[in-house]
């Protein structure tokens, strides 16, 4: 059953229709909020708010658009409101809020710990990339999330964020460059032949 059909079901009074929509999209909504805000508890709260807002405004949903884009746009706007209220100091990318991330970077920045570095390379590459993602500016981070995690096209991202297409492309390009620089700064280099390895 498509999202549009589930929306119709919900508008006709079926609780199951909305339950299916929640089950289908809760992960992507939560992921966007948690990655943008870097605060799991707040992300959970805003995810609830997002779905409730979607529920109360369901009649204004245009079935010509994708429901996933619509709900991500609501979540994105909610996250932006929170980031604006917080102010720039509290979302400083130089001062990560997650203690786990600090631990990852301690490991990454110890050049003597070759064994630890290999362990990070082999077992925690996703964590390293997550740390690189968290170090991006919020507008770059959301572009990466929407493009590479939600697999959305440039036009869809532009519709969700309300930015021009060129800006979206520019954000993605700069975001990737910064993430690459993050990895290179911490010893990940591309060898002349073969895959990446950790610099000694």
């Amino acid at each position: 059953m498509t999202d549009a059909q589930l929306v119709e079901q919900t508008l006709a009074g079926s609780d199951d229709g909305f339950a299916a929509l929640v089950a289908r999209h809760q992960r992507s909504v939560y992921n966007l909020l948690a990655r943008m805000l870097r605060n799991p508890a707040l992300a959970e709260e805003l995810a609830q708010e997002t779905f409730l807002k979607a529920y109360t405004h369901l009649r204004s949903f245009n079935p010509d658009y994708k429901f996933s884009s619509w709900i991500l746009r609501i979540a994105h706007n909610a996250a932006i409101d929170v980031l604006r209220q917080r102010g720039p100091q509290l979302v400083s990318i130089d001062n990560p809020e997650q203690p786990e991330q600090g631990r990852i970077e301690d490991t990454l920045e110890d050049p003597r710990s070759d064994e630890a570095a290999r362990r990070v390379e082999r077992r925690d590459l996703s964590r390293v990339l997550g740390a690189a993602l968290d170090h991006l500016r919020p507008e770059y981070r959301r572009a990466v999330i929407l493009r590479y995690q939600q697999d959305l096209g440039y036009e869809e991202i532009a519709a969700i964020t309300g930015e021009p297409l060129g800006t979206v492309k520019s954000h993605l390009h700069r975001a990737r460059a910064e993430m690459a620089a993050f990895l290179v700064d911490r010893g990940f280099v591309q060898p002349e032949a073969g895959g990446a390895r950790r610099n000694e």
Binding site: R27, Q48, Y55, W70, R122, Q149, A180, G195
Partner: protein, 178 residues
């Protein structure tokens, strides 16, 4: 996680360094699909959302009441009334309270009388306004038959219509959701 994944990472880093943006886009998409998975939603998130939905729906039916009670001036008035009542009960004697009640009833009666008088006056004003408008209409119909008056009236109606449309467009609420 083996060398294949590090190779993928290495090719992406190389593409970024070489300025091959399109290739870097594709390679990073492959890296991200394997190593940047979506975060798991917390257990119970869906249940919490669905539990909240009926409450929100019920709240919608009485939204106006909740909104009224939720406004600060209503809460402040209720709090002040309770405070005054408590002070009155604590400080006034029974006879004073009875006298106060009697004054209150008398005051309310006057208020009701005043309200009915105001209502009657309003009806009179409305009636007079309707009469005036009817007279104006008759006069306009007579004047409209002569000279430039019809053109002036038509232009006036056109300007008024344009002003109405312009204001409606300016004041209409912005659509937030597509």
């Amino acid at each position: 996680m083996g060398d294949r994944h590090m190779d993928e990472l290495g090719r992406w880093l190389a593409a970024e360094q070489a300025g091959a943006w399109d290739e870097a886009d594709v390679l990073f998409a492959a890296v991200a699909s394997r190593h940047l998975p979506l975060l798991q939603a917390p257990a119970g998130l869906a249940a919490a959302i669905l539990a909240a939905v009926p409450r929100r729906s019920e709240a919608g039916r009485f939204a106006a009441v909740f909104e009224l009670v939720g406004s600060w001036w209503v809460r402040a008035t209720v709090a002040a009334a309770v405070g005054v009542l408590g002070i009155a009960l604590a400080t006034l004697s029974l006879s004073q309270l009875l006298a106060f009640s009697s004054w209150s009833v008398e005051g309310l009666a006057r208020l009701a009388h005043g309200a009915s008088a105001a209502l009657a006056a309003s009806i009179e004003v409305c009636s007079a306004t309707v009469t005036l408008l009817v007279d104006l209409g008759r006069a306009a119909m007579v004047v409209a038959g002569f000279g430039a008056a019809p053109v002036v009236i038509a232009a006036n109606v056109l300007v008024a219509g344009l002003a109405f449309l312009g204001l409606s467009r300016l004041l209409s609420p912005r659509e937030e959701y597509c």
